[in-house]
C-alpha cells in the first residue's frame, strides 16, 4: 500500500525559505505568484493492506518524527 504524508508550516510561522523562493520566482519573471510556503512530502510504502491500521501507523510516524507539531501541520493520504 502506498501513502503520502505532507508536512506544511503552520500559518503565522515565518518561512524564510518560502520567501526566498517567492523572490526568485518574481525575479525570473514568473508572474501571478502571490506568495510561497515551503513544505515536505514523504512517499511511504506500507506493509499490509488494512487502511485503518495504515492510517494509525502514518499518524504515529507523523507525530513522532515527520512533523514538529510546534511549527508544522501534517496531512495523511493512503493512496
Amino acid at each position: 500500500m502506498k501513502a503520502r504524508v505532507t508536512v506544511t508550516l503552520k500559518t503565522g510561522v515565518l518561512d524564510p525559505q518560502g520567501k526566498a523562493i517567492e523572490g526568485a520566482l518574481k525575479s525570473l519573471g514568473v508572474s501571478g505568484i502571490g506568495s510561497v510556503r515551503q513544505g515536505k512530502v514523504f512517499d511511504i510504502e506500507l506493509d499490509g493492506a488494512d487502511k485503518a491500521s495504515a492510517e494509525a501507523v502514518l499518524k504515529a510516524a507523523a507525530e513522532k518524527l515527520l512533523a514538529n507539531t510546534v511549527i508544522e501541520n501534517y496531512r495523511i493520504e493512503v493512496l
Partner: protein, 233 residues
C-alpha cells in the same frame, strides 16, 4: 564535576566541548555514544554538543532527539540533573521536548560564522552563575538554523518566568535588530527549562576559554558549572 558528552553521527564539536570540560573542571568527560541506553553512573552534567547530527536531515536535531540515549537524558533531567545543549545540541533538546520552541532557518538565510555579543540575562542559574546579570560576553556562533521561534503563549511564559539566559546584543549590551544575527524572537540566544536545570544556546562558549584564542568569555559558563558541584569532581 562528572560530565558526559553525547556523540551522534555527524556531530563535530564534541572534541572542543570535551577539551573545554577537561580544561575547566580538571576531569575528563565521558564520551557517550547515541546508541547507548545509560549514562555513566554519577553523571552530574550531560552536554549535547554542536555539529550536524544525521546531516541535519528532516529537521536539525530531529533524528538525534529520538536516539536511544535521549531516554536516559530525559530521565536524568527529570531527576533535576543538569543538561546543556549547544548549537545542534540546543536544536536536539528542542526536538526532544526537553526545551520549548524550535530553531528555524536564519532570517537572512545565510550560515553565520563569527563572534557575537551576548547579554547575560540572569546570574542565578547553574549555567550563568559564573557571570553577572547584565554582563556582555563575546563568543562565536556557527549556524544556519538558529532563529529561535515558539508560539506566543510559550514566549510569554519564557519571558515572564525569566527563562531567557542569553540575548544577542551590541558590545555595550544594547538590543536591536542589527545585533540579532539570526532573527530570533526577542533576540533569544539561550533559554532554560521550567526547572532551570536544562539549558540550550546557539553560540559556542566552549570555543572562547583560552587567551590564545583572543577571548576567554566562554569560560565563566563552565567555571560556574564546576562551582555548582563544589569543585569536587
Amino acid at each position: 564535576m562528572k560530565s558526559a558528552v553525547l556523540v551522534f553521527p555527524g556531530i563535530n564539536r564534541e572534541r572542543d566541548m570535551a577539551r573545554t570540560l577537561k580544561l575547566v573542571s580538571g576531569v575528563e568527560p565521558a564520551m557517550v555514544w547515541h546508541a547507548d541506553t545509560e549514562l555513566p553512573a554519577g553523571t552530574d552534567l550531560v552536554v549535547v554538543p554542536g555539529g550536524f547530527s544525521y546531516g541535519d536531515y528532516l529537521r536539525c536535531g530531529a533524528i538525534a532527539a529520538r536516539a536511544p540515549i535521549m531516554d536516559a537524558v530525559r530521565a536524568h533531567a527529570a531527576k533535576g540533573g543538569l543538561v546543556l545543549g549547544v548549537c545542534n545540541g540546543f536544536q536536539i533538546l528542542c526536538e526532544s521536548g526537553l526545551l520549548p520552541g524550535v530553531l528555524m532557518r536564519n532570517s537572512k538565510l545565510k550560515f553565520i560564522c563569527h563572534d557575537v555579543h551576548l547579554r547575560v540575562e540572569r546570574s542565578d542559574t547553574p549555567f550563568t552563575r559564573g557571570y553577572n546579570a547584565g554582563q556582555v560576553i563575546r563568543v562565536p556562533v556557527a549556524h544556519g538554523e538558529g532563529n529561535y521561534v515558539a508560539d506566543d503563549e510559550t514566549i510569554k511564559a519564557i519571558e515572564s518566568e525569566g527563562r531567557v539566559i542569553f540575548r544577542y546584543c551590541a558590545a555595550d549590551g544594547t538590543l536591536g535588530d542589527p545585533y540579532n544575527v539570526n532573527g530570533a524572537i526577542n533576540a533569544i540566544a539561550g533559554i532554560v527549562n521550567e526547572g532551570g536545570n536544562v539549558a540550550g544556546m546557539m553560540p559556542h562558549p566552549e570555543n572562547h576559554v583560552e587567551s590564545i584564542i583572543g577571548s576567554t568569555d566562554g569560560r565563566g559558563l563552565f567555571a560556574g558549572l564546576v562551582a555548582q558541584f563544589g569543585k569536587a569532581a
